[in-house]
Amino acid sequence: MGLARLAPMTAVEAQGLVKTFTSRAGTVEAVRGVDLSVAPGEVFGFLGPNGAGKSTTVRMLTTLATITSGTARVCGIDVTSDPDGARRKIGVALQEAGLDPRQTGREILVLQGRLFGLSRADSAAQAKSLLELVELTDSADRLTKTYSGGMKRRLDLASALVHRPDVLFLDEPTTGLDPASRLVVWDEVRRINRAGTTVFLTTQYLEEADALCGRLAIIDNGRIVCEGSPSELKADLRRRRGLAADPTLDDVFLDVTGRHRERSAGDVKEVS
């Protein structure tokens, strides 16, 4: 056996992560000191209401936004001091399925491979295999502007996997998808994780976190308000409230964020 690659102790690690935005309206503290630790091989859920700081945290962890203070490491690599090293370790699929509408699915995957340093031939082979995996072979040579929402999401996932990343960041991967497409994405996430990739998943859908995540953290107002496995968090709430049955993850979410829901004019609103 040759030299074995030493696996880092953590796949994702953040300490005291802070992000402030300054505009003419003043300074906004979007993330206020987030500490995180995700083990290799986990599916880690990162939950929170709109504007809680989920996406900003992901953007810092994926080198897409600067860190105001604190540190972040991916597979042991500091994202600030060695951003390109971190980029080689991660795959990123953000909220919008970021695709070039004037390229075909195959061209996007080949281009992505080339940008990660694969040769033209390796990139084409990897694209072919990923297109088969996400069942887009038949549409591979169509411009992506003709794809449905679910197809775009699957291609976006595939493009995040071209360079075989150790950690996959998925920012609200099922937002806007119909229930059937959502289930397809869930299956993909499970399959990717079974293949050994750590998944860092942000979502607003609590049933999604319950179905996919081994452990999760809930962020609210830029701070993590609770962390643990879904079953631990439910059992904790049941114990604290003296409930007869296990609560749902939704109950946990409302409890730790101090929110409740009100029905008004036919709509259900989340109120803090």
């Binding site: 390109d84 070039d100 340093g117």
Partner: protein
């Protein structure tokens, strides 16, 4: 192959697939050429107008159309679209130099401009225009126009990255029109009214236009005029590339 080349190839595919975006950049400058020549050709007959150097008024007007064709900045609008739809972040998440993302686009702008300028010069032959300085002059004319296209598109890319707004980028593109009209676009600089002559002298576009004219009208190389044109374009390109790289490196 460098990331810039790979991204340049992608931008070229994009240009090929959007002829509807390219056609106006060819047709509108030709329209201007036809209209301007139609309005003023009789005032400036080739045999009695010294500054035409024996050519038709279309030869004098061709640089105006070439500069207009090189100043549409469509690439910057595609860049804004990518910022808005998230593909820009996808590219930023790859381990390539940040500058390659914007410079790849500018490389394709240069190639498209070379194609467009060649087509326009060929079409202008039907107006009786000839490139008096010969094949080398033609190559210099194409390079000068491509340089201006890189500079202007680069400027709009900076606006696109700073504002992240298609509307703002589009509006910034209109700045070319006052710059174009504050030049000796209809007659040489020394025939302009004093205030216009001063404005044209202060306007860097004037020197690019005069260098183009020197290449089209003169059967020799007036290096003083051509050199100033290339210096202006070179400075413009260097400045906008530096700004593009700086903007990319600090993009958050």
């Amino acid at each position: 192959m460098s990331a810039m080349t790979v991204l340049g190839e992608r931008a070229m595919r994009e240009a090929r697939r959007t002829p509807d975006a390219l056609l106006p950049t060819l047709l509108i400058p030709i329209f201007f050429l036809v209209v301007n020549v139609g309005q003023a050709a009789k005032i400036f007959p080739s045999d009695g107008t010294e500054f035409l150097e024996g050519q038709s008024y279309a030869a004098f007007q061709l640089p105006v159309s070439l500069l207009l064709a090189a100043s549409f900045g469509t690439a910057a609008l595609y860049l804004v679209e990518e910022v808005e739809n998230g593909y820009f972040d996808k590219l930023r998440a790859t381990p390539i130099p940040r500058s390659a993302i914007v410079l790849g686009r500018l490389a394709s702008v240069a190639l498209v401009s070379i194609g467009m300028t060649t087509i326009m010069v060929v079409l202008s032959l039907f107006f009786g225009v000839r490139i008096a300085s010969g094949p080398i002059g033609f190559v210099l004319l194409v390079l000068l126009t491509a340089g201006w296209a890189i500079g202007y598109s680069g400027f709009l890319q900076v606006v696109a990255l700073k504002t992240r707004s298609a509307a703002a980028t589009n509006s910034a593109g209109l700045i070319f029109f006052p710059l174009l009209f504050l030049t000796p676009n209809l007659v040489p600089r020394d025939l302009l009214a004093p205030s216009m002559e001063l404005a044209a002298t202060l306007n860097p576009v004037t020197y690019v236009m005069e260098a183009m004219r020197a290449l089209i009208l003169l059967d020799h190389f007036d290096w003083a005029v051509v050199g100033i044109g290339f210096t202006v374009v070179g400075g413009f390109v260097a400045a906008v590339i530096a700004l593009n790289v700086r903007t990319m490196n600090t993009y958050d």
